[in-house]
Amino acid sequence: EKIFHNRDHSDVDVHAPHHAELIVDTDTARQFLSKYGFLKPLRLDESQSKEADYILGGERLHMRIQEGRSASRTGIETDVSANIPDLISGLRQFQVMSGLPETGVFDDATKAAMNKPRCGVPDRLSPTGSSVKDNSTGSSVKDNSTGSSVKDNSTGSAPADPVASNATINITDDQSDRNLKPASPR
């Protein structure tokens, strides 16, 4: 419950919740794709993922390696936009997964899909980046009862019951809302 002290709660800081940063350009799209597993984050070895002195080729170098960008010997960060093929393939995979046209371009439809409310669990879980696609055959389950008629062909003597004679009574499996038994509240 929000903390308040004034009787009229006027001191409650009804702060407007801060809003998620929209996905508006290839940079924010890249972050989205990386977060949800469509881009392999630059594979940095654990031991190199921080600022430190490194011995490379017999030369002592002070280097800061920051995830998501390639690090050069001189520590000058080179823009990873050189990884455009990476971005395009990530976009394509996201578009395929989302049922969008597979353009590989950060187009409006892709932008809209990226800004939808969604679950924070990555879409591609296994480190090998194997996609998690539902490969079911989508086989629908055969409906095994569509109002089967009960036809009794027994050669019973006197018609002992309405079904024994050759009359046929259609007994239908009723799931309409007329079934008498109450369903649970749901």
């Binding site: 998690v132 089967s148 062909n153 309405p162 259609n170």
Partner: protein
């Protein structure tokens, strides 16, 4: 030591296969959950939050052999699934939330669930906001081991689809969770098709039936055309069958002839006649019989209690099963047929030698969907040779039993829920 999605493989839970995330699953069937005190949402009452989570867990329990129980007393370390709301950096989590919009929640395999309280979560069927129930069912799916599934209709799709009232866990999602935890099995007290006559708006009489599976004091309506039980079942027997013993019955028999249309429930040494018109058990029927009545009075020569029974309209006989014996009771002569009791093996011989329930049956079920009689015992069933099959192969003994099969291969997803979740 914060558990993280990709690396979590807690010592406490077994993983079925290294490396293949799909095979991570809990190794026990009863899981405890708790909405943690420091993680209440500021948008819904605490009771609403807990009720919605309870319903979300129940929905998974209705389609899997897992049971879930809310545990607010045990030490936190003993709680399998912890749920909490937070904003931005929250609850010691390594993955901060992003504010209103986009990420609304995340979950850990076999672990915890966090909801972004900057989102506008609402109770089911309010028609606006983000349905907390739907998000919770999705995130619980992750905790149980399901990844995102890109299939229209799946509850495991990553993006939130505006609240479609009455969403449920569909067939393929059920099969996905059953692939991790197996199907639902168990014995039934009785199974029957409930028949009733109705008059259409045009005045014609139609006969309808619904199929019911009963287990102790609970029952499911089985929707044959959808291959599943009714959403929201099981429900308590006394909710749907007024005047019938609330802890369930041994047998149900529907005697249907030109002159009689009587539905009976049997329990112990007594039986009740059910009044379909008023949807309750008779206390006194039109013939002046008062209920409950002793089985020995209404069906002289039949012992009690019985295991189960069914009425065979082909020969106007009610077959009462008790132990390894069966009693044939003729509704016309109102007496046990001479030569009975017989061994069930004798009256209902096995087509395949040795493949026979022998005795102590759970249920005898005359199914209008399959136009056949089934004998159920434990998790298996045996179908009686039908009239048509008999005619095609006159050499086969009458009422032969075809080889047994597993119940959950013919009737699907008849799953129990934890007793604390039964009455919702």
């Amino acid at each position: 030591q914060k558990r993280h999605l990709l690396t979590l493989l807690s010592k406490r839970r077994s993983k079925q296969e290294a490396g293949n995330l799909r095979q991570i699953a809990f190794s026990k069937q009863l899981l405890k959950w708790r909405l943690i005190g420091e993680g209440y949402s500021s948008q819904l009452s605490i009771d609403d939050q807990r009720y919605i989570f309870k319903l979300a867990f129940r929905m998974w329990s209705e389609v899997s052999p897992l049971d879930f129980v809310e545990d607010v007393h045990s030490p936190l370390a003993e709680i399998d699934i912890r749920l909490g709301f937070g904003t931005g950096r929250h609850l010691g989590c390594t993955q901060a939330f992003d504010g209103a919009g986009q990420e609304f929640a995340h979950a850990w395999f076999l672990g915890d669930i966090h909801f972004d309280d900057d989102e506008h979560f609402t109770a089911p069927n309010t028609g606006y906001g983000i349905s907390l129930l739907k998000v919770a069912v999705h995130e619980i799916g992750h905790v149980l081991g399901l990844p995102h599934i890109f299939r229209p209709g799946s509850i495991m799709q990553p993006s939130y689809l505006p609240q479609d009232t009455g969403f449920e866990i569909d067939w393929l999602d059920r099969k996905a969770i059953q692939k991790l935890y197996g199907g639902c099995r168990g014995h039934f007290s009785t199974v029957f098709d409930w028949i009733r006559k109705e008059r259409t708006p045009y005045g014609e009489v139609v006969v309808r039936f619904n199929t019911y599976f009963m287990r102790g004091g609970w029952y499911w309506m089985y929707e044959n055309r959808n291959n599943r039980t009714r959403y929201g079942d099981p429900v308590a027997v006394q909710m749907g069958w007024h005047g019938v013993p609330s802890n369930g019955v041994d047998a149900y028999v529907h005697v249907w002839t030109w002159t009689t249309d009587a539905a009976y429930f049997f329990k112990g040494t007594q039986y009740w006649r059910y009044d379909g018109e008023n949807d309750e058990a008779f206390t006194e029927d039109s013939e002046g019989c008062r209920y409950p009545r002793l089985i020995s009075e209404g069906f002289p020569g039949v012992p009690s209690p019985i295991d189960t029974a069914f009425y065979d309209r082909r020969d106007s006989l009610i077959y009462f099963f008790k132990g390894k014996d069966v009693y044939a009771f003729h509704v016309g002569t109102h007496a046990v047929v001479s030569g009975y009791p017989k061994k069930i093996r004798e009256a209902f011989p096995a087509l395949v030698p040795g493949d026979h329930p022998v005795g102590h049956l759970d249920a005898a079920y005359l199914s209008y969907t399959h136009n056949a009689v089934f004998l159920l015992k434990g998790t298996r069933f045996w179908r009686l040779l039908g009239t048509r099959e008999q005619r095609l192969k006159p050499s086969l003994p009458r009422n032969s039993l075809l080889p047994g099969k597993e119940v959950d291969q013919q009737w699907f997803d008849i799953c129990d829920v934890h007793k604390t979740n039964l009455k919702m």
